[in-house]
């Protein structure tokens, strides 16, 4: 078991180092997320109250769009280096590759959200601090769900023609629960949970994360086969 942890860690380290050294990936993510927030704000209009009510939705749209973009690059470094086949040659469970990349994606998205949430708080004039623990928990759950299924589909589509089309197409239905859960839980928390619904949404997100994680980990080796 420690073998898979070490190897996942090696992949995580490699992907993060590559990301840091190329630098373009993360800055592209930030720019894109900022763009989404700004564009939507302009589209909706200057009504601060309205923006405040929609903040949860806007945040999650930004996260999901940006996340999808960054996932598209998850296996790209492998392609450049000669393909995922070489990774498959190492002894041990190939699932380490999935776990490592999943974690790498999580780290990147978490870094993005650390910037995004405060930016949204400022733009939409919402006081997030008192709700911070809840918001962080929901963000973590939703981001994990996104990364789980996203890394999986990124691996699946990396060898396909038209992968830029297919990844969003495949992800979209899969992310509906994340979107609904993330937005509604975030909104609920920000409004003080008047209808006591947040717990239900959190449970849904947890169920989603657990089920999809188990299934994706299980099937992952099939994706890399040739």
């Amino acid at each position: 078991m420690s073998g898979i942890g070490r190897r996942a860690g090696a992949i995580l380290w490699k992907d993060l180092v590559t990301e840091v050294r190329t630098r373009q990936g993360f800055s592209a993510m930030i720019s894109f997320a900022a763009l989404v927030l700004f564009l939507f704000s302009f589209a909706i209009g200057p009504d601060t109250q309205l923006l405040g009510r929609l903040a949860g939705g806007l945040l999650w749209v930004a996260i999901l769009f940006t996340g999808t973009l960054s996932l598209g690059r998850a296996f790209q470094s492998e392609e450049l280096a000669g393909g995922t086949r070489l990774l498959r040659l190492y002894p041990g469970d190939v699932r380490a590759i999935y776990l490592g990349k999943l974690l790498a994606n999580l780290v990147l998205l978490a870094a993005l959200e650390v910037l995004l949430f405060p930016a949204a708080a400022v733009l939409f004039q919402i006081d997030m601090l008192p709700h911070a623990p809840g918001l962080i928990a929901v963000a973590a759950l939703g981001t994990f769900g996104l990364s789980t299924i996203g890394t999986f589909f990124a691996g699946l589509t990396v060898h396909m023609r038209a992968r830029e089309l297919l990844l969003p197409l495949l992800l979209f239905p899969a992310l509906v629960p994340v979107m609904l859960g993330g937005v509604n839980a975030t909104d609920g928390i920000l409004m003080g949970d008047p209808m006591g619904r947040v717990e239900g949404w959190v449970r849904l997100l947890v169920a989603y994360d657990v089920i999809l994680f188990v299934v994706c980990v299980w099937i992952f080796p099939v994706i890399l086969e040739e």
Partner: protein, 217 residues
């Protein structure tokens, strides 16, 4: 004879393209075999099947005594493949690439072992340069270093001499001898006949996906 590779009717197709059509092959343990044939005759496909990258479409394959595909992990623990183009992560330095490869292979090399491995293949100066600056010859040397770090029973070399200068070729030949002396089986797929057969005990020729006249020397 203990066979490190036993193939019976090994077939592999890609859609309508039949890369291997019923290969029957037995390779004695500890031998060095030159796998010759023009481009497109199935050498790479055969090596890929043997190192478990590809599943056979039909036929039986046993590598190091383990049947494929079920014994895949066992085979991967004891075997390695060298690719024609040299595989390296662009943004990592030479030594970081080695470190990554070692960890993925489950090794815990001692501190100086990685540097020593790079020195042995003439890459000490480039050890801390990112692989994106490496020539293809340097990448192959890096792959060689990677493989020499491991304890291998089966070594598969796919066009190992391509892109290498004289000293590089000498390094590969040296490695082949070292592997043979350690009792490993070495398969060299190459279209450079002289280099491939230099240390070979046996020559196997592939023609259009089947074994042609096998000549033992």
């Amino acid at each position: 004879m203990r066979a490190s590779v036993r193939a019976e009717g090994l077939t592999r197709r890609f859609g309508r393209r039949w890369a291997l059509r019923g290969i029957d092959l037995e390779i004695a343990s500890g031998s060095v075999v030159a796998l010759l044939g023009a481009n497109g005759t199935g050498k790479t496909t055969l090596l890929s099947v043997l190192c478990t990258l590809l599943r056979p479409t039909a036929g039986n394959v046993e590598v190091l005594g383990f049947p494929l595909p079920s014994g895949g992990d066992q085979v991967r623990t004891r075997s390695a493949l060298m690719t024609p183009s040299g595989h390296a992560y662009e943004e990592l330095t030479g030594i970081e690439n080695l470190r990554f490869a070692s960890r993925m292979a489950g090794l815990r090399p001692a501190e100086g072992a990685l540097e020593a491995a790079l020195e042995a293949v003439g890459l000490s100066e480039a050890a801390h340069t990112r692989a994106r600056a490496y020539s293809s010859g340097m990448r192959k040397r890096l792959e060689l270093a990677r493989m020499r770090l491991r304890d291998l029973e089966l070594v598969l070399l796919d066009e190992p001499f391509v892109s290498l200068d004289e000293s590089g070729v000498a390094l590969v030949q040296e490695a082949i001898v070292a592997w043979r002396d350690a009792g490993a089986t070495v398969l060299i797929a190459s279209h450079r006949v002289a280099d491939a057969t230099l240390h070979a005990d046996r020559v196997v020729r592939l023609e259009r996906g089947v074994v042609g006249t096998a000549v033992s020397s």
